[in-house]
Amino acid sequence: MSTFLDMGGYAAFIWPAYLVTLGVLVLNIVWARGSLARALQAARRRLASPGEDS
Amino acid sequence: MSITGTPAGVGAALTTRASCDEAAPSAPALRAARLTLARDLTLAFRKRGQLIQPLAFFALVTMLFPLAVSPELARLRAVAPGVLWVAALLASLLALEFLFRDDAYDGTLEQYALSGQSLTWLLFAKTVAHWLLTGLPLALMAPFAAMSLGVSAAAVPGIILVMIVGTIALSLIGAIGAALTLGMKRSGALLALLTLPISLPVLIYGARATELAIAGSSFIAPLELLAALAVLAVTLAPLAAAAAVRISLE
């Protein structure tokens, strides 16, 4: 296991690289879901209070 | 452009035909473009102060390098092509803000868009005027800046030639960015962010051609690539700028 984690001495470069990429993937999921949730919330608010447009 | 100067009699004969049923005879596209060019040049010479700004800026930026790097001409000569092109790129960026701004404020662009003439063509004429007022003076001033950086006088014709071709491309590419940022209150930084990345090829080939010209070797290869960029910009940039202006009028 420790030889796997050591990555032939390249651990200091490989693991940060993988972490950064995974972080970007996770951030994308969070951002996308967040923006959809916000848009849905705004749409529900507009539906609840009948505005001037419709 | 001078071939379009038709005798006044033809124009007069045409105007008498105007009636309510048909539109008045429209001016040919070349004449419309020539008038636009003439108007912009006249205006620029009425406000000479604005003309000097990009040139002063160019001179200042060039002057920063001896102060920041070293006054040794040998070292300056090595970085001279880069200095000249970075300064030229920034100076032309500075001048871009004036390209369409006044015409957008007072409704001239709107009238151009509704003139029945090709907006692409009119904006091309405006960009040509802009190049004559900023790009060409920069190209003519570049040798003086170069010589202050230790470049020998033999390289002067080459530097002017490369600068002329490069500034044509820069003005046209910049016109797209200037048209896209119309109608924004503070557009300076955004204009730079939009324009600089797509201007990089001009910088690369221009600086390389200048480097070769300074070294006294043949700079045909990068100059050809630079000219290809300029031709591409001449054909495509006015189209994109016209589309951007129409969007800004919506």
Binding site: M7, I14, V24 | L200, I204
Partner: protein, 248 residues
């Protein structure tokens, strides 16, 4: 006949249809993406043999290349969507283009960081003016310019159209920028050590990479579908179908 063939296009252009379609498709894209990415990373880290030159260090390829590939693919998707939006004045195409930019920019950042982390053991410096990394950096500025321009407009329609025009201009320019950077680089230094797509790459090394490329592409599609729904909701504020969809 011609009209029949174009109906799918017109249906896609209808916001309620695309909204519902995106909602239905998302899980079908997201789960395969997750499986492929997890499987690909495992294969890349464990199953693939070490490189005879770079040893274990080459394993960064499995995150760097998919990120770099996505940064370009997202830009092309954005440019195509933008062109469609401009030409046919199609709202949902603008929604797609606007959704692409943050995704693409984040992949570009990932490609830059992993490239730098790969560069340190290979070149001995964190940053090398390698043509690929330089192009990637310029691409990041193109994305930032697109997002900055959109943010500069208050009105969504104008932001859409101006941004779309910039995206199309950028798409024309990306190959020009890329080749001039390669040309510039060839003058100043020897070809870099980072060479991809070597025909000698053994299948055991190549397979995880291909799996990951597919996985990342599906991941992009899944995130895009979610984001597009949000953008459509924003653009169609006053439309009646939103009420019907949400109450259903």
């Amino acid at each position: 006949m011609a009209a029949m063939r174009w109906t799918w296009f017109h249906r896609l252009a209808s916001p309620p249809y695309l909204y519902a379609l995106a909602a239905r498709l998302t899980p079908w894209v997201a789960w395969p993406a997750a499986l492929l990415i997890v499987g690909g990373l495992y294969a890349g880290l464990v199953l693939a043999p070490p490189d005879y030159q770079q040893g274990e260090g080459f394993r960064i390829i499995y995150v760097h290349v998919p990120s770099a590939w996505m940064s370009l693919m997202v830009y092309v998707t954005m440019g195509v969507a933008a062109a469609v939006g401009l030409i046919w004045r199609m709202k949902v195409a603008h929604a797609v283009a606007a959704s692409c930019a943050p995704i693409g920019a984040s992949f570009t950042v990932a490609a830059l960081v992993t490239g730098s982390l790969w560069g340190k053991p290979m070149w001995g410096t964190w940053w090398e003016w390698d043509p690929r990394l330089t192009s990637e950096l310029i691409l990041l500025f193109l994305y930032l310019g697109f997002m900055g321009l959109r943010a500069g407009f208050d009105d969504t329609q104008r932001a859409d159209r101006a941004g779309a025009l910039l995206a199309v201009v950028g798409m024309v320019n990306v190959p020009i920028i890329h080749y001039s950077v390669i040309w510039w680089n060839s003058l100043h230094q020897a070809p870099s050590v980072m060479r991809f797509g070597k025909p000698t790459m053994p299948a055991a090394m190549l397979a995880p990479l291909l799996v990951l490329l597919l996985g990342f592409s599906l991941f992009f599609a899944a995130v895009l579908l979610v984001r597009v729904r949000a953008e459509i909701l924003q653009r169609e504020r006053a439309a009646r179908w939103i009420g019907e969809t949400l109450r259903a």
